[in-house]
Symmetry: C2
Subunit: 335 residues, 2 copies
């Protein structure tokens, strides 16, 4: 069902405020979910609201914490999220390092003990619109098997890179798993078989059975190289943030564990006129496609089209999720 | 033919010194080539020496330049390589940002106008042995086609990540092409067909003919995700270094063009005891393999084994390359 953006925003806001989130923080968190929905990524959208409310009720997410942000050097911001909401802790960190990078040239935030960040692309786009570049990395539960292995040992560890360009910034946002565990669950719900090479079952054997894969492991993207990259992100982020590794990571997919993954952001000043990047990306968009009906795409373009369309259509949200959010928001009328 | 490491080093050194390279710089450059050979990567080894000598003779590489290294902020080192040797310019930059990161927490070098860096893993290993982490990126000639495209538009843009661990650092070093153009040339020399999906011919059609692929394009690794990642590295590095993009990049594979790619290094202080990373990597090495005869590997392990073996065996170098280097070195006796 399609709903007006403002209506969804305000209802989600009420639900969070009722759960104890200060209104300014709730606005930051809800914006991330709404922007993910608008960009066509509901997996990072409002379906996460009820879980965050549960996490707050269970005491593993602190609705009011903004985290403790401390400079460990002129350009290195060490952040103890103190179980705060991911976007709230991250936004404060990004504001600080973006301002600092204006004088130091580059600055990094290393965040631990913070909840799920949401869709990374949005942070990258925000920073790139200010004329700076962003590299963002975050670890996650071990769902990916090593290349040549049988068991989930590595997170889906996504990376985002934002670079100024016109008419919108260049934004990469991709996980290092071949598919998401969300997709496995979707296939399982629809009784649809997986494709070969996507996943292993609990015993570590290849499977096309999506239900069996839910307790197994998904493949890294790009075979041995993608595995190596995802593993590199895992040890890099843990080393910078002093956070958990591998199967010890918890708290982005459940309602009961403290979230112990790490997040790293690097902001740097640009040395190049954005017109050069824009011109290059336009050459790529215009290059001859292998299939005449499928123009070559630049990362982020599809998300921008989807976002623009949502200006007209509003947000397409599953009725059961909307019902849940509405009932959580309705509680606030009873306050 | 296997040759003693010292003999190869000294002979290569003589050849560079004769070409006008100051001895200290020549040592830095030769070490990079030798270490690549020892790690089993001859494509980044001594076969590049004759080309560098040619580049110096042609005036597109400056044998004596160390580059101009200038702080643009407390943590951002802007480097104009002034056509210097890649490892010489990079080593100076890394020394500066590694020292600076001790007080700022993180520091970045953005290098333009410098020659080919050699094997990135060696820089990552050096920094990680100091207890710091390194992220390294460098652009290169457009050899990779966009996913769904027909023409080479993106560099093979490699990434290195070094993280402290025992008994040796964790070191990722990978290009974002599915295969290297060097491999295409090897296959062409041996009249061996390529595998499906590896490359396109000059007209942009899929080909198994290695000779036809030499003037075509190689595929990105990891399909659309690897393409997106390689493209992100291209625009990120160009933006930070004010260097060339796409098909405008030249000078790492020829003897006549100034080298106009960019290099980016980020060094940061570690926040985690290396034992945690070591323990995690050991769990990965010990995890059940899909094929009992093929233990799961961690990036960098194979290179370390190869390097250790070279202590005993010396370096395996192609006779024609050795002959070339010896004749270049012999010129110095005639000086």
């Amino acid at each position: 069902m399609f709903l007006a953006i403002d209506e969804v925003h305000n209802t989600a806001l009420l639900a969070l405020v009722h759960a104890g989130v200060p209104e300014e923080h709730a606005n930051t968190q809800v914006r991330l979910w709404i922007e993910a929905e608008r960009r066509g990524h509901p997996s990072h959208g409002l379906l996460r609201l009820p879980r965050i409310v549960e996490r707050i009720a269970n005491g593993v997410a602190d609705p009011a914490s903004q985290g403790n942000h401390q400079w460990k050097g002129d350009a290195f911001l060490s952040v103890d999220g103190r179980n705060g909401l991911g976007p709230v802790v991250a936004q404060r960190a990004l504001d600080l390092i973006s301002a600092r990078a204006k004088t130091t040239g580059v600055a990094m935030a290393a965040i631990s003990n913070s909840n799920h960040l949401g869709m990374l692309a949005i942070y990258a786009e925000d920073i790139a619109r200010k004329g700076q570049v962003l590299i963002g990395l975050t670890t996650s539960e071990a769902l990916v098997h090593p290349w040549g292995g049988r068991q989930a040992m590595v997170g889906t560890n996504p990376v985002t890179i934002g670079v100024p360009a016109d008419p919108h910034p260049f934004v990469l946002d991709m996980a290092t798993g071949l598919i998401s565990m969300g997709k496995v669950h979707d296939y399982a719900n629809r009784n649809q078989p997986l494709e070969p090479g996507w996943a292993l079952d609990h015993a570590g054997n290849p499977t096309l059975d999506a239900s069996a894969a839910k307790s197994g492991a998904i493949a890294p993207f790009g075979d041995s190289k993608g595995y190596a990259l995802g593993l590199a992100f895992e040890v890099l982020v843990a080393t910078l943030t002093n956070s958990a590794l591998g199967r010890d990571v918890a708290g982005t997919l459940d309602s009961t564990n403290v979230c112990n993954k790490g997040d790293v952001f690097i902001v740097a000043e640009s040395g190049l006129e954005r017109t050069a990047v824009t011109r290059y990306l336009d050459l790529i968009r215009a290059t001859a496609p292998a299939d005449p009906d499928k123009p070559v795409r630049v990362p982020g373009d599809r998300a921008q089209l989807s976002r623009a369309a949502s200006d007209e259509t509003g947000i397409n949200i599953a009725p059961e999720i909307w019902e849940k959010i509405r009932s959580l928001a309705a509680l606030s009328a009873a306050d």
